[in-house]
Amino acid sequence: MTTTGTTRQGGPALEAAQRLLADLPASPAVWCSGLRKRYRRQTAVDGVSFTVGRGEVIGLLGPNGAGKTSVIKILLGLVRPDAGEVLLLGQPARDPHARARVGYLPELFRYQPWLSAAEVLALHVRLAGAAVPARERRECLALVGLADRAGDRVGGFSKGMQQRLGLAVALVARPELVVLDEPTSALDPIGRADVRDLLLSLKDRRVAVLLNSHLIGEVERVCDRVIILDRGRVVESGTLPELLGRRELRLRLDGVTAQAEARLSAAGELTRSGSSFTVKLPAEQDTTTVPDLVADLVGLGVRIHAVEPARISLEERLLDILRTGPGEERR
């Protein structure tokens, strides 16, 4: 997005306008609103809106058929939405130039089998209109562990190697936004660890990442925010502390009177199963809630066998949301 050419032609007013624009905070990496897509009678995407900030790593989660890949394809112009708008790096996605600084690893990754790995990268650099020297392209291949296979035809690559090549393709044209659709589906545990390191290094370089992955642990480790899709809708989104901040206290008690139960309920939402009690605690950490509760229970004559504070994992939270819908909780 160079402005020098137009600056030369335009007057001082244009220059001032451009200065004003330059002073504005950078537009988000992805902004989409009201995306809708139907395939015949099947609604794949139903009113999806979200934003990915610059340098932010966002995880897209949801069950199979939730519409995650459809949303990604709409963002990248591969699928035409029935309704809705998309801005990529501040430009309307209808204009192909909006994708100049976008890298993409598709879920279905295949590259020209008659080209070598180095030639595939050179092709993508040319199509992206970027000037990436051969040394940098080689480094990109080395980054995904394909340095010594640069000259080999892609047709001879294993699935895992093709996925690694796909990562290199997504990263080679110096992207500001990287969209990764199931980036580790064909990778061994070492490859997965490599991808995690790669994601963290992108985060350090302030490259925005939209990550669609079934590996919740992966998402939990690297993502700043999570968007959960189900049946084509966003059912929940927020930062990890927002989604997972809730703690709970598991207790094994006997001699619980109605009074004691009321005291437990006062601490948080209570579920009981025999002598096991679970109390949902508020998100904010404090040092008094748990000791006070225990002291009060003892005072009420309750016999305490076990007290176990626990943190809710993203997986539990995801299952909870998908089973019961957003907002409400079941436990």
Partner: protein, 282 residues
């Protein structure tokens, strides 16, 4: 920017044709056909020994058209079966996904593919056709009156068919698009033959079959124009008004109007392919 994308994709298409054994199998087929024709032409003289130079020219000219038809068939089959997979196949396999998310218009990708295939098809027709001319010259000492025009029309025929193949491949599966394109090519040729039979019998409605089919798909019309450029003008005088066109004899060169129509036809079909491709979900 758009031009760079078009040229990059065109170069990629040529590279694909060269590396995917298409070129090799085409080369083998062509060499086989050329060798057979060389042998046939040399026998022509030996078998009918003592042909007058005029007779040799007539024979050479007729057989040349026959062999050129074989070459045009190879070119048509080759490019039609290349055109289908190159677009629909890449969408099916997922190769297109990474390409199409680059900052390029889909139309540029389509035109790039088309351009690559046109260069490939025309290059093949030119090289193989020219080799055939040399063979005919060496064996029966015949040189066609308008070799360049003829080869250009053959290239045009290949272009028309591969453009149709591209349009079909935006709607149906890669293999089916190749088969339908080649089927239509054959059907138009047969309709052309039927039309010339109608013309010979002075039956206007039968003759119209050929005319209409030549308008709908200009491959046969362009082929007839190419034949006219390859054959000896003396042959037409000899045949005179006794019979009209035959599958391997063309009475008149193409009109400028028909050439313009063929050009427009290719542009419209390519435009339709572009529209269909633009709207397609991947």
């Amino acid at each position: 920017m758009i031009l760079r994308a078009v040229l990059t994709v065109a170069a990629l298409t040529l590279q694909e044709a060269a590396r995917r054994r298409v070129l090799r199998s085409l080369a083998v087929l062509t060499v086989l056909l050329l060798a057979l024709s060389a042998w046939g032409f040399s026998r022509l003289d030996a078998e009918f020994g003592g042909l007058t130079s005029g007779e040799a020219r007539v024979a050479g000219s007729t057989v040349l058209n026959l062999v050129m038809f074989g070459l045009s068939l190879i070119a048509a089959l080759g490019t039609a079966f290349l055109a289908g997979p190159t677009l629909a196949g890449e969408i099916e396999s997922g190769i297109a996904l990474a390409i199409m998310t680059r900052p390029i218009h889909r139309g540029a990708v389509l035109v790039g593919k088309w351009l690559g295939l046109v260069v490939f098809g025309s290059g093949f027709v030119t090289v193989a056709g020219f080799a055939q001319f040399l063979i005919v010259r060496a064996t029966v000492d015949y040189w066609p009156p308008q070799p360049v025009t003829g080869l250009a029309l053959l290239a045009g025929q290949t272009t028309a068919l591969l453009t149709l193949g591209l349009l079909l491949s935006t709607a149906i599966s890669p293999m089916a698009s190749g088969i339908v394109a080649v089927g239509l090519f054959g059907a138009t040729w047969i309709a052309g033959v039927v039309g010339s039979v109608g013309a010979a019998l002075d039956n206007d409605s039968v003759a119209r079959v050929g005319t209409v089919s030549r308008m709908l798909l200009p491959t046969d019309g362009l082929w007839r124009g190419a034949m006219n450029s390859f054959q000896d003008p003396a042959l037409l005088l000899q045949v005179g008004s006794g019979i009209d066109e035959s599958p391997f004899l063309s009475m008149a060169p193409l009109t400028a109007g028909y050439l313009a129509w063929a050009g427009l036809w290719v542009a419209v079909v390519l435009g339709l392919a572009g529209l269909a491709f633009q709207r397609r979900d991947m």
